[in-house]
Amino acid sequence: MKLLVCVSKTPDTTAKISFNADHTEFNEAGITFIMNPYDEWYALVRAMELKEATGGTVTLINVGPASNDAVIRKGLAIGADDAVRIDCNPTSSLYVAKQIAEYAKEQNYDMVFCGKETIDYNGSEVGGMVADMLAMPFISYASEMEMNGNTATIKRDIEGGKETIEVDTPFVLSAAKGLAEQRIPNMRGIMQARRKPINVVSPVDFEDVSSVVSYELPPAKAACKMVDPENMEELVRLLHEEAKII
């Protein structure tokens, strides 16, 4: 099977988020970047499992500048065969999806994997857009998948339960927790990754149809108030007057 895994670079989960002076751009200074965990832990690892079970290839695709290569190398260390990087600074989910679809349409992939969302902008959009552009079915929030020949049985998370879907290849899938378990690359894999190719491709021309006006940080969390266990009256007063939940 020929598998494509879309991987994104996101700030580390512990990063302190800030923006430039007019709040129109994320401030990358001093930020440690990682591979988006939904792409790495679930999408990539499930693709690796399919390759190990039935043979084939796993290709990574990333839309971004050369500084993204470190994240791509980690994916190669986990076991992907090769990678493609569309060399640009993406401006929106639509832009990213357009670049991926343009590359993938000539390649006849059996499945295209992505994470259910990236942990930075939380768009959950790229997978659906890619599927539409490639005229393929899109199965979102997949938390279990079994293959039988060219037919996949996929369980997807829905509010309060699960939905089971059958779909034939080719299709696009977004991976949720449960689809696979995190794999830690070993030292040999890390060294082999050095020799695997990252194919750098120029982006196709695309005029974006939206632009970011501004970002806002969520309100700071209020400090935790400690209440003496003997002083239940004070606890009740705080819950009533300040938290206003009783």
């Binding site: 190398r73 260390a77 995190q182 830690i184 070993n186 030292m187 040999r188 890390i190 060294m191």
Partner: protein, 409 residues
Amino acid sequence: MGKFENGVSTLDDFKVSSKTDQFQGHDYYAVDDLLTDEHKIARDAVRAWVKQSVSPIIEDCANRSLCPTHLFKELGEIGAYGPSIPAKYGGGGMDDIAYGIIMQELERGDSGIRSMASVQGSLVMYPIYRFASEEQKMKWLPKLGSGELIGCFGLTEPDHGSNPAGMVTNIKDDGDCYILNGAKMWITNSPVADIAVVWAKDEEGKIRGMVVESDSKGFSAPEIHGKWSLRASVTGELVFEDVRVPKENVFPEIKGLKGPLSCLTKARYGISWGAIGAAMDCYDSALRYSQERVQFGKPIGAFQLTQKKLAEMITEITKAQLLCWRLGSLMNNGKATPAQVSMAKRNNVNMALEIAREARQIHGGMGITNEYPIMRHMMNLETVLTYEGTHDIHLLITGMDVTGFNAFK
């Protein structure tokens, strides 16, 4: 030992902590910019493994003085044994900075876990790689690299620690074998080892190295009990009573102390990185605690005396990181001297121990409990200060290097 089925533990043998390991690395001088992508991926991989496999059980291991022997295999799977040994011999084919970073991350978890790996890699695989015949290399190294076999290193004796040249363990020629007699002391991994790299004097009084299989007649490795340090790592003796060692197991070329000392240089180099890991864990815990613990109406991190401790800690950690990075660069180019390694080992281990003590104070009473890693690191580092060349001996090595005078004897 022997408390586990077949001598190997499983996760079920340990109480799993409900606490999440919140450790974050500290890189005040952006040393990361000096590292390659491979270094950083290796660092993150070992850090993830430590959080997954070590942190949840390490306090229980240390509390009950049980070695998590199932981790030997896992360490092999992630590639922590001999990462700088070529891949065809079971190593990782990485450079010495990668090796150092792996040791740093393991010791961030626990010095005992790092010891398990650095003995296997630097003191067992490395001498076999450097000194054994091709046949012997292929016989032992791949299985050591994967963790299928466990090795130990026998140099120190009950009466010969800092002065290994005085060793009395000896071999006598007996046809196709040597007959080995003697005893070794303070041997990490010995009670669980399949093979031992042993150093003994031949009939000419020259020190020779050899691989001794633990199922040989006359070989025993009693465990040393009662340690208040490295409690998650198993330590023992090696006792040889007329052990027959096949001649092909003896390293053909190397004679004299140069053999074991070259292994120790490699291991000490790893320790100088490892100590940074222990120091960072203590600092990281102390920094977080100082921001959360409130006294006199404000976090204790807002008080000058706490800030003095934390500022000095991160300063010393940063200096140690730069020292190790430079030493690693020299190692990669084959230019590092044993004396330079001595300086880094001595400085960094002492730095880590001082930081553990300061961090313990910041944690107040909580610092003495196993809710926090501080006392465990502190007790471990007392061993690390002494083994692989004591704090004082390394000082004398630097002294001799700069003055030309030998003050050892």
